[in-house]
């Protein structure tokens, strides 16, 4: 009994902290989302998100639904690109020698630890019309390209910033993979591609799913990349929330955060279901 009391005493500070600073603040998001400036109950903030319209390039559009759709679209494209680039890289890393693995790990981690604002800004100077990329193309006698201020530039920024978050979880699973399984598959007549499809990919699936989550969530909610690389023309839901916060419209900012949270919770539930179904991995104890 005394020990149980000790467990409670040790947990008490964290329990109180988590309740006060994790759970209660989420309640405040909902509270602000459904109230007006005088804290009277209202649906206006939520319905504004779904009904507000504006004119873009001569056509009338649903302002915030368009922004949200764009966020989802660009985040999905970036996630798929990160997977296409990150998966082979993780595989190559896991198969390399000890020394090469260590060096590549350091190379992957350096960008993660450097401030992403400066790195994103550096991309701006690369992609500008008079920037380094076009200077390079010009020197080669090639035609200049226009990238900055397009959706492609935003996707480049997202892939650049979040690629390490895709590589690391996949790599850590692949590095632990039993090489004998691959050899066995080969001995049993698999060619390179079917070893990949039937053995390597299924085994690496937990890493893929956690990598996808780690790229998708920050890229849906980012608010700096699009302002700089999209020249402010491709507002994402993160930019919209930040803009309302900066303008001190806390209730509408909260409403958008609330909607984003609900959509992401649904996504996470689907991802979790997929993880359980395809890897047989239950909840952690």
């Amino acid at each position: 009994m005394r020990r149980r009391g000790a467990a409670r005493a040790l947990l008490a500070p964290y329990g109180a902290w988590a309740a006060l600073f994790i759970v209660v603040p989420l309640g405040f998001v909902a509270y602000y989302a459904f109230t007006d400036n005088n804290f009277a109950f209202t649906f206006d903030n939520i319905s504004r998100f779904f009904t507000a319209r504006s004119v873009v390039d001569g056509t009338e559009v649903y302002t915030y639904l368009l922004i949200f759709w764009r966020s989802l679209k660009l985040a999905l494209i970036s996630t798929v690109l990160c997977l296409l680039l990150g998966y082979p890289l993780a595989y190559i890393m896991a198969r390399a020698g000890d020394r090469a693995q260590k060096i590549m790990m350091i190379l992957i981690m350096i960008p993660m630890w450097m401030n992403f604002l400066i790195r994103t800004y550096a991309w701006m100077t690369i992609l500008q019309d008079t920037g380094i990329l076009n200077g390079f193309l010009g020197a080669l006698g090639l035609e200049k390209i226009h990238v900055i201020g397009t959706e492609s530039a935003v996707v480049i920024g997202m892939v650049y910033d979040y690629l390490p978050y895709m590589v690391l979880p996949i790599y850590s699973i692949m590095a632990k993979m039993d090489v004998r399984l691959l050899e066995a598959a080969r001995d049993l007549g698999c060619n390179g591609f079917s070893v990949l499809r039937r053995v390597i990919f299924p085994l690496s699936l937990p890493g893929v799913l956690s990598g996808v989550t780690m790229v998708l969530i920050p890229s849906i909610s980012t608010f700096y990349i699009s302002q700089k690389l999209g020249s402010g023309r491709f507002f994402l839901i993160g930019d919209a929330i930040e803009g309302q916060y900066a303008a001190n419209n806390l209730h509408f900012a909260a409403a958008m955060a609330f909607i984003l949270m609900v959509v992401l919770l649904l996504c996470m539930a689907v991802m979790k279901e997929l993880t359980v179904r395809y890897t047989g991995e239950g909840e952690r104890a």
């Binding site: 964290y14 994790i22 401030n115 790195r119 800004y121």
Partner: protein
Amino acid sequence: MKTLSRVFTGLIFLFLFAPIAILLVFSFNETKSLSVFAGFSLKWYRELLHDQNTLDSVRNTLMLAVSAMLISTVMGTAASVGIHRLRSRALRRLLNTVTDIPMTNPDIITGISLMLMFVFAGWLFGLANSLSFWTMLIAHVTFCLPYVILQVLPKLNQMDPALPEAAMDLGCTPLRAFFKATLPEIFPGVLTGAIMAFTMSLDDFVISYFTAGAGFQTLPIRIYNMTKKTVTPKMYALATIIFFVILTLLLVSNLTDREAAEQRKKKTIKRKGTNP
């Protein structure tokens, strides 16, 4: 196949390091341009050393990161021991779910939610501006805690539960048993958790942005404010310094890792030699 994978790896690392190379080069530019290199000069580094606001923000960032690391490591380790001893499955599951929230929620939602609560509390107490160093510290401790718990809890589960019990049987008080038997066993996890908390706090921009008071600027917020206006190579000079600090830390930690691994190897060989 081998050449193909070499080329692919090379291209990816070119992509990852292109902007870093750019900012290394242009931090030494003689002119203000960030895309035309005019000549070598150290003048932006000199300017950086005279930029009191930036130096203050570096000091603030370190102060905040050290405080957040200490608080979250102590509280997180205690919480892990508590969770580990907890008998009630339902309560344990509830705590795990709550601990997962700051890690799975996007930063912008964590930031907004804390900001709303602080603003509301400020309004309740009639304060004009409730955001300060303290609100930021609370926010940083909150998002660091899960990382500490995630590192410490598995170490506790791996530990032989007989160890602290034996210590207590031999006359240790529970507190002494924790420091003498449990802590040395779980220390690698505590250390990794503390390092993670420190780096997360150091690098955080989004949550800080929403919970920062007007008078307290961290380095990421300072950088954000600088990139709103036209940027000079001064910022690149700052990034270059950060780059070399990180590079040194990573190399040192990897080298010491290797040394430790070799020593461990020697020890096991020795043990095997005397105890076949």
